[in-house]
Symmetry: C2
Subunit: 308 residues, 2 copies
Amino acid sequence: MKEVEVKCPATVANLVCGFDILGMALQEPYDLMKLRLIDEPKVYITNKDEYDLPTEAEKNVAGVVLLAIMEKMDNKFGFEVEIEKHIKPGSGLGSSAASAAGAAVAANQLLGNIFSNDDLVQFAMFGEKLASGVKHADNITPCIMGGVTLIRSIHPLDIIQLNSPPLFVTVVHPQIEVKTSDARQILRKEVLLKDAIKQWGNIAGLVAGFEKGDTDLIGRSLEDVIIEPVRSILIPGFDEIKTRSKEAGALGGGISGSGPSIFMLSTKETTAKNVEAIMQEVFHRLGIDYKTYVTSIAKNGVEVITGQ
Amino acid sequence: MKEVEVKCPATVANLVCGFDILGMALQEPYDLMKLRLIDEPKVYITNKDEYDLPTEAEKNVAGVVLLAIMEKMDNKFGFEVEIEKHIKPGSGLGSSAASAAGAAVAANQLLGNIFSNDDLVQFAMFGEKLASGVKHADNITPCIMGGVTLIRSIHPLDIIQLNSPPLFVTVVHPQIEVKTSDARQILRKEVLLKDAIKQWGNIAGLVAGFEKGDTDLIGRSLEDVIIEPVRSILIPGFDEIKTRSKEAGALGGGISGSGPSIFMLSTKETTAKNVEAIMQEVFHRLGIDYKTYVTSIAKNGVEVITGQ
C-alpha cells in the first residue's frame, strides 16, 4: 500500500503589517501526517494526538481538503490519514493550515505530483474555510512553499515567494483562547486613508527589506497601525513583550496571525533566547500558562519525509 | 563666481497603487537650472521659459527651498537662479519637485556637498508645501535619487531606493488642468478595509516585481482600487487609453501623480511607441491638445552638468 509521511510546519501569517497577504514558515513546531491511498472513495481519519479533533471527513480540516481532491479526480479512490498534531489548534500558528497544506501535499505526492503549488493552495483553502469561515491563504501558502510568501491576490490566485535573510524567530503561545472569527469581527470595516498609506509604506518597506536582505529595514517596517492596535487588546502582556523584546535587540514582531501567539524576529540566536526569557517572565508573572519556541524561518514548506 | 548647472528630471509619483509612497524618475522631460552663490543673503530668480512663474523667492518653489538652506546656514550668503522649465507646471510630472529638488542639489553642490540625500529631501519638501499645500516627497525623492524610490515614512523620513529592470515609459500630457489640491480633495477620507488589503497586495507585488526584475509581476500589480477609480473621472480618455495600451502589450500604467498626465510601462521600445500612437489618436479624437514622450526610467536623479 502506498504511504507517505509529511512534516507540516507552523506558520506566522500577516507578519505585522501584511494583513491577509504575508506569511512565513517556521522550523518549529510542526505536525506529522501519514497518508495512504485506498480503493474505496472515503476518508478515514485517525488522531495520534491529544486534541480530539473531529474524525468525520466533512468536519476535519485535512478531510475536506482530501474530499476536494477526490472530487477533482472523480472519486476513484480514497485516503487513510493519521494526524499527529504538535501545533496547538487556536494558537495563531497556522494549525489548521498545517493540516490542510499537509493533506494537499501528501495526496499530491501519492498521486505522482500532478498538481501545481497554485492547485495545492486552492485545495488547502477548503480546510481554512472550514476552520475559520474564510478562504484565506496567508498560512497555507508559506506552509506549502516555505520561507516568506506574498499573496498578491486571491481572485485570481497570485502567490510570490520572497527572498529572506536567515532570521531567528521567538514565539510565545499564551494558553488563552482567541478565535480567528472573533479576531476578525472586532476589526473595523473602514480604515482612515492616512492610516492605510502608513500601512502600505510599511508593507512596501517590509517586502523591500526581505528582498534586499536588509534586516534594519525589516525591523523599521514591522509596524501595524490598523490591525494590531485593535487585536492586541485581546492579548495580555502584548505591549510589554513587544517593547522589552525590541529593547533586547529584536528587530520587531507582533501578533502571529490572529493570535494569541506573539512572534519576534532577531538576527542573532542569543537575542532570540533573551526574547524568550522576557516572554516567559511576563506570562509567568501574569499567571498565564504558555509555551515558547526559539526557531528560525523554514526554507521548505511541507516536507515528504518517507514515501518519496 | 561659482556656478553650477543642473538637469532636473520629470517624475511619476504613486506608480498606480503606491499613493504617496512610490515614485520614479524619467529620462525626459527635464528642466535646466543654473545657480550661483552670491554674498548678499537674497535669492534672485530669472525665468528662462514661457511659464511666467513668480520670481519673488517666497512665492517660488526653488526660492523657498533656497531660503530654507540659507536659514540653515545662518543667512551668510544668497543665490542667483536661472530656471528653464520644460516640465509644464500642473502636468502631474513633478514640475514643482524638479524645481525644488534641482535647487536643493545645485545649492548642495555649490556648498561642497555638505548635505545628505535625507537633508535634501527635507529642504525640497518646502517647495512641495508651497506648490500643493502638503509636504509630500514622492516626486522629490526619485528626482533627487533617480530610479524607483519608496518613502516608507515621512515622519521620520525613511527613503529606500528600489532596484528596477530597464523599462520604457510612454507619457501623455493632455492640456487640461487638474490641480493637485483638487485631486486630493475628491479622495474619500476613509477606505474599505477589503479595498485596502487589495491595495497593499498590489503594492507588495509591485515592490517585489521591481526588486526581482519580474516585469510580469510589475504588470499584474499595477492596479489601483482606491485612488484611480475616483481621480480618473477627471481625465477624459483615461479608460480607453489604459485598456488599449495593455492590449498593445504595455505592462500597465495609470495616472501620473495627481494627473492629468497618464503613463504606461513597456518592456520594449516598439510597444512604448505603439502606446504613444494610441494616446495621440485618443486625444486627437477628443479634440484635446496633448504632448507625448517615449522615454525610460532615469537611473540618475538631478545631475550636475557643469560646475562639478
